[in-house]
């Protein structure tokens, strides 16, 4: 990992505010993601979790506040540039290339790592071919790692939901991200699939040293796998600490259970 040992958090979100018309989706949210940790972002529906992920990955731009990645300001970058920096993500509603095979989907995730001459590439010649093969080897490793060898040639759109989520994770991993953002990786899964996904997330973390931020609703999952939990409610951060601390936090309990005013 190139980033290891450098001081400061990997990603810092500083007083970020996002508004859609009159709606304040995020209000002065600040948080840090440190190298090598697994952070869970929790909160009731509409708390601004996905908006936060969209801001980090460059799909939305904050109306005020800053985002620092490895100490550098990258508030204004678009999604493609953010991906090139080493931040990969998955989506709440799986956003795979449905008509492409699983292998092609994962290879597409490898694009930020591929460089080369467009002309040679167009001719599929010399270095372009060699490069393709090298990347292909890495992608096969990811495919083995996530145990999706059997479906490599299947168009992604034909797979059951749980597997699509796994393929999407594979596509994100193909870019060898430093920071991996997962938007509800376990939504809509049964217990068995959830356990598999948990195992994969932990394995990815151990094997590649990837820093992971994930949005999750299932509290037992959150408590099991995360080093730190950040809670949002109505676009504000209401808690930030170890799973045990956040679980007993009064503001978090109020947010989830409601409170008499």
């Amino acid at each position: 990992m190139s980033g290891n040992g450098r001081p400061g958090p990997l990603l810092a979100v500083e007083s970020v505010r996002v508004t859609f018309g009159a709606v304040q989706a995020l209000t002065d949210v600040s948080l840090e993601i440190r190298r090598g940790e697994i952070v869970a972002i929790i909160g009731p529906n509409g708390a601004g979790k996905t908006t936060l992920l969209n801001v980090i990955s460059g799909f939305y731009h904050p109306s005020s506040g800053r985002i620092l990645y490895e100490g550098r300001d990258r508030t204004r970058l678009g999604p493609a540039d953010v991906a090139a920096l080493g931040i990969a993500r998955t989506f709440q509603n799986v956003a795979l290339f449905k008509g492409l095979s699983v292998l092609d989907n994962v290879m597409t995730g490898r694009l930020p790592k591929m460089k080369g001459n467009i002309l040679l590439d167009a001719l599929y010649w010399g270095p372009a071919m060699k490069q393709e093969l090298a990347h292909r080897a890495f992608v096969e490793r990811i495919i083995d790692f996530l145990e999706i060898e059997a479906i490599r040639k299947t168009p992604a759109g034909r797979l059951p939901y749980g597997l699509q989520k796994r393929v999407e994770l594979a596509r994100a991993l193909a870019a060898e991200p430093t920071l991996l953002l997962l938007d509800e990786p376990m939504a809509g899964m049964n217990v068995e699939e959830k356990e598999d996904m948990c195992r994969f997330i932990l394995d990815v973390h151990d094997e590649f040293g990837t820093t992971i931020a994930l949005i999750e609703h299932d509290m037992s999952v959150v408590m099991d796998i995360s080093d730190r939990v950040v809670a949002l409610d109505y676009g504000r951060k209401i808690a930030d600490g170890t799973p045990a601390e956040v679980r007993n936090d009064q503001a978090v309990l109020d947010a989830y259970l409601g409170v008499a005013h």
């Binding site: 799909f59 493609a80 956003a95 290339f97 449905k98 597409t108 694009l111 467009i118 167009a122 870019a175």
Partner: protein, 310 residues
Amino acid sequence: MDVLHGLVAPLSDIAASPLFFVEVLVGGIAAGLLYSLVALGFVLIFKASGVFNFAQGVMVLFAALTLVGLMDRGVPAPLALLLSIAVMIALAFAIERVVLRPLVNQEAIILFMATIGLNFFLEGFGEMLWGANVKRLDVGIPDTSFRMAGILVNRLEMAAALTAAVLVTILAVFFQKTRIGRALRAVADDHEAALSVGIPLKTIWVVVWSVAGLVALAAGVMWGAKSGVQFSLSLIALKALPVLILGGLTSVPGAIVGGIIIGVGEKIAEVYWGPLVGGAIENWFAYVMALGFLLIRPQGLFGEKIIERV
């Protein structure tokens, strides 16, 4: 009774002289591949950006005008070809910057309207630069026929068909095998997901419009060599429409097969059944075929069948 006889009689003509039928077939395939080439320009742009490029036909005209204009001014042919390629690529950059980028995330119909504007701009701009009179384009291949295995074949048509076939093969490999091809297919499939894996949309659009420009140049050279470079060249885009309906708007193989079916179909109809209604059915028969086809397979031969999940 007479009508029925008229409809059936050509079948016996076909049986009577199969060699002539093969000649008609070959001519149809040759013409069809040229339609394919124009249709391919539409498919490429539609796949990658969801835009139906109304200006594709004028791009053919513009490319051919540029080439002929340069050659008329004494530029040697190979250099003129390279310069024309450069002009088409420059045009792609300009279109991305001036038309596509400001309209990103707009409705498809807005982009379609923009390409109509582009159509008239390019038409006027081309005529302003190179003049509006008919120009002859000499590619060094005579428009004469020779006999091959007893079949009469036109040299120019044969060269055009071969070039089209080679170009189409290269494009197919480019789309299926290369990194950029994969990125193109990814963008065509899901814009948002493509962005999230770091595919720069702007670059993809420039590449796609450049390729569409090159395809337009190839089509322009071949049609221009046959019938002169003039305004009516832009009307071959209309011939690409039935091809697109037949092959599907999103399929490269569809554009090729569709082009051949249309080319062969209209040739056979013209030669054998044309006299029945006084000829000249070649001009509209393609549309009738396309309409008939729409009734059976609205998504085209190879188009994606859209199934909405509810």
